[in-house]
């Protein structure tokens, strides 16, 4: 804290209280948080979902989202009290002196206008620059943020630009009026690790260059360690502790903070393939696949999954991980190649498979929220596959559902008649697991099952999956882009890129050099807790050699995975 002096205070929030409207009453969601930010300081706000990070971020702009209200405390921005300011006064600050970078640039750019039109809107409105000057400035910012074709990219529509590029364009837009403060609300959460690096590097550079103060909101500790001077930990609308980044990482004071830091510790022993000639439970042989009328999305994919083992399939979005899963389940018949189950060929289309074959291809989805019908009770969600595959009825069915609920560690007496919206994210994901188990499969596909969950909750799910594997001898195909998860539970790893398998093998080998260049890129792109990680990495790779640039360098000229625009 010695770096900043009292006269440099830009934002001072005192005893902030915010309420949210829910079930016809106002509930406190922020319960008296203090925050002081100096010019040029980057403050990291971290916590699980529901901790109130984003709400505080919006409040720093004097903005309360629909259904919330600022009910107490004071927010003083550069001498101006925002809680009592008029709408017009607050609006005059937004965009010009305080800017906002949202989580999903793809959703936060207006699809109907060109990027540069949205960029120049604020400077033109505030009469800081004329339209043409603002346009020139935008191109310069694009160049500083290392966007490809800075002179041209702004004239595209948002859907014509990839997610990582959009996120940088949004950072450029936030910079358009050279604000004193930028709120970054989880700006890299939706991105792949390789793309995340370039966005992080770009944000850090630009904040440095213009000495902008920033509030950096995230749930990823390793990311915040790279970005922030100071870290504040939040839990359920209250501050847990605050300290400088180094101090927070080396010497956290509170139990909760320590538990967050320790989260990546779960690891189980690696198993190896059976040596007694047992056939693989699922064998993917040379499959090609494409969606109607488009180019091949899978190109000669082959790998085996042996009984009782966990095979992690990793790669960036668009690399064909989920498409492979769709081929195995028969939802998307491959155009070439075949899927073997215990050495026997499975019909390509799920409609041609018999019950016993269908039973073997169960899935657990990333979004438990949308994968469970909100109007159906838990016992029915789990009971239906039990009824369909095992023909259970009446008392037997109820007993089976109780058994399954016990397996996923939810009390049957309490959850039997509940509806999905009454459950938390982690509980919903457990129901998803129970539904897959109800078919009594020997093999389950887990598609990014922990990506949408907070770290502590995700850890619980991983432990549960591991226990079920030991008890029931299940084999998992574990699709993920999170290499920390791979490290903790995988036995074997398959690395995919642009629809091809680029490397595969036992986990310990995959995590020891030498790697395939793409595996290396993936591995080295995972943020680490060391606050100097990003700096070191950028020095090693060279500033112009991260993310997309790195991709382009190691690929043949025609293949640019990252240039694929967001769908």
């Amino acid at each position: 804290m010695t770096k900043f002096s009292e006269k440099d205070v830009l934002l001072r929030i005192k005893d902030l209280q915010i309420q949210g409207y829910s079930e016809e009453t106002w509930i406190d969601i922020i319960k008296g948080v203090d925050l002081t930010l100096h010019r040029g300081e980057v403050l990291g706000l971290i916590g699980e979902s529901g901790a109130g990070k984003s709400t505080i971020g919006a409040a720093a702009m004097g903005y309360a989202r629909d259904g919330t209200r600022i009910s107490g405390g004071s927010i003083e921005f550069d001498g101006m009290e925002l809680t009592t300011a008029t709408e017009g006064e607050k609006r005059a600050l937004r965009g010009s002196r305080i800017a906002y970078v949202a989580q999903s640039a793809a959703a936060s750019f207006n699809p109907a206008h060109k990027i540069i039109d949205q960029h120049t809107e604020a400077p033109v409105q505030y009469r800081i620059q004329k339209r043409m000057a603002a346009q020139e400035d935008a191109m310069e910012l694009y160049e500083r943020l290392r966007l490809p074709n800075p002179g041209e990219i702004g004239f595209r529509y948002p859907h014509q630009v990839s997610g990582g590029q959009l996120q940088r364009a949004m950072t450029a837009m936030a910079m358009s009026c050279r604000p004193d403060l930028i709120i970054f609300d989880e700006p890299t959460t939706a991105l792949d690790v390789t793309t995340q690096i370039e966005v992080l590097a770009a944000i850090r550079d630009i904040v440095d260059q213009f000495n902008t103060a920033a509030i950096y909101i995230t749930h990823d500790l390793a990311v915040v360690a790279q970005m922030a001077d100071t870290i504040k930990v939040l839990l359920k609308g209250e501050e847990v502790e605050q300290a400088s980044t180094e101090q927070m990482l080396s010497n956290p004071q509170e139990e909760y903070t320590k538990s967050l830091w320790a989260v990546r510790s779960f690891q189980r022993d690696q198993k190896s393939r059976p040596t007694d000639g047992t056939p693989p439970i699922i064998s993917v042989k040379n499959i090609d696949a494409s969606y109607t009328g488009s180019a091949k999305v899978l190109d000669d994919v082959s790998f085996d999954i042996y009984p009782g083992m966990t095979v992690a399939v990793v790669g960036e979005s668009g690399s064909g991980k989920s498409t492979t899963a769709r081929c195995i389940t028969g939802l998307l018949p491959p155009s070439k190649g075949e899927i073997l189950f215990k050495g026997e060929k499975l019909p390509a289309k799920y409609t041609d498979r018999n019950k016993d074959q269908l039973r073997q291809a169960q899935m657990i989805y990333q979004m438990a929220d949308t994968a469970l019908n909100p109007k159906v009770q838990i016992h029915e969600i789990i009971g239906r596959p039990a009824q369909f595959y095992s023909g259970l009825k009446g008392g037997d069915l109820k007993q089976r559902v109780d058994e399954l609920l016990d397996l996923i560690e939810l009390d049957p007496a309490k959850y039997y008649y509940r509806y999905p919206p009454e459950l938390s994210g982690g509980q919903k994901q457990r129901i998803g697991i129970a539904r897959a188990l109800a078919a009594e499969p020997e093999f389950i596909i887990c598609d990014e099952v922990t990506s949408a969950l907070d770290q502590l909750v995700a850890e619980g799910i991983l432990k549960l999956l591991d226990r079920l594997q030991q008890d029931l001898g299940l084999a998992y195909m574990f699709i993920t882009h999170d290499l920390a998860t791979v490290r903790s539970i995988a036995d074997e790893v398959v690395v995919m890129q642009q629809g091809k398998v680029v490397e595969q093998g036992p986990k310990d080998e995959m995590f020891t050099p030498p790697h395939h260049p793409y595996t290396d890129l993936l591995l080295s792109s995972v943020p680490e807790m060391d606050p100097n990680w990003l700096t070191t990495l950028l020095e090693e790779r060279g500033v112009d050699n991260v993310g997309e640039a790195a991709d382009v360098n190691q690929d043949p000229p025609d293949g640019k995975a990252e240039d694929e625009p967001t769908k």
Binding site: A58, M61, Y63, R65, D66, R91, A92, L93, R94, G95, S96, A99, Y100, A102, S104, A107, S108, F109, N110, P111, A112, H113, E121, A122, Q125, Y126, R156, Y157, H159, Q160, M173, P565
Partner: protein, 318 residues
């Protein structure tokens, strides 16, 4: 743009197919009506011989399928046959009247569409204010009152008590355009009142639906003024549903205005259709129905294409 042209052609193809099915339905539905032209025209005093003679003359005894194909062949070339009552070609009976109907519909649409969209944007901006409520109640009242009632109210106040406009909108060929507008003002105003509410409420709903989008929040956090958030950021993304409702209302303006025509004695196609039904003038009924069906199909096609054109993803492919 190649994709777009192909899409439009495909839709047009489907439209023609639909029209073919509709033509079958129209022809055979009319066949199902009791009695035929010969009986209707000759009346109760006719002898069986004269009825039979007329049937022979009109070819009514031949199988329905043959007559349908003949009729369809004629319709494709714009020949809908001859009116069974007057003996004039059908196109001469309803052609001029259809033009009148189109004139009235265009007159009403030119006022109603911009007015409704402007009002919709305004109530979306001032949502939940007194103005929003009042505008909603007023437009709902006008849409819930029968057209003929609205028409008579307008006649009472704007033609009888304050003689500003003629109560009877009869047109003749030698009137100037200004005269035409003056003559047709009251029926057009009635139609405006009837169709505005629907379009306004859809505009309001489509815009408000988008206000929870992240890009709207982004615009607000950029300090964009509220009216600009609505007009610049929400409206361009709300066109698809609005265009669809506009097209439905335009179709109504052409095909659903019989009552207004009757009230104002306006020589439109709706009246011609009602007359033809009463007189069992089947060729006219069939032709008018087919024109209505084509209008509906064309306008819906136009709405689809319009909705596609407002989507930047389709206008500017990757």
């Amino acid at each position: 743009m190649g994709d777009l042209t192909r899409l439009v052609l495909k839709r047009l193809g489907y439209g023609l197919l639909t029209l073919l099915v509709v033509s079958i339905l129209i022809f055979f539905a009319v066949e199902l009506l009791p009695g035929d032209v010969a009986e209707a025209v000759l009346g109760q005093g006719a002898t069986p011989e004269t009825v039979q003679a007329m049937r022979d003359q009109l070819g009514l005894d031949r199988p329905a399928v043959i007559r349908y194909l003949e009729w369809l062949g004629g319709a494709v070339t714009g020949d809908f046959g001859v009116s069974a009552v007057s003996g004039d070609p059908v196109m001469r009976v309803i052609g001029a009247r259809f033009v009148n109907t189109l004139f009235l519909a265009a007159y009403a649409a030119v006022i109603a569409v911009p007015f409704a969209i402007f009002l919709g944007v305004l109530v979306a901006l001032l949502r939940n204010s007194v103005f929003d409520r009042v505008a909603n109640v007023m437009t709902l009242t006008s849409i819930s009152s029968p057209e003929f009632f609205l028409g008579y109210i307008l006649i009472l106040y704007l033609a009888v008590k304050l003689p500003l406009f003629p109560a009877i909108a009869s047109l003749s060929g030698d009137m100037s355009f200004g005269d035409l507008l003056h003559r047709a003002f009251l029926p057009a105003l009635t139609l405006v009142l009837v169709v505005t509410a629907h379009m306004m409420r859809m505009t309001r709903a489509a815009i408000i639906n988008l206000l929870a989008s992240p890009y709207i929040e982004m615009a607000r956090l950029k300090g964009v003024k509220p009216w600009r958030v609505i007009v610049k950021h929400a409206l361009p993304n709300a066109w698809a549903p609005i265009i669809n409702v506009v097209a439905l209302n335009l179709a109504y303006l052409i095909t659903g205005v019989v009552l207004v025509e009757v009230v104002f004695v306006y020589p439109g196609i709706g009246q011609a259709l009602v007359d033809a039904v009463a007189k069992r003038d089947f060729p006219v009924v069939q032709a008018a129905s087919l024109i209505f069906a084509a209008t509906f199909i064309l306008l819906n096609l136009a709405a689809d294409v319009g909705a596609i054109l407002t989507n930047p993803r389709l206008r500017h492919p990757k």
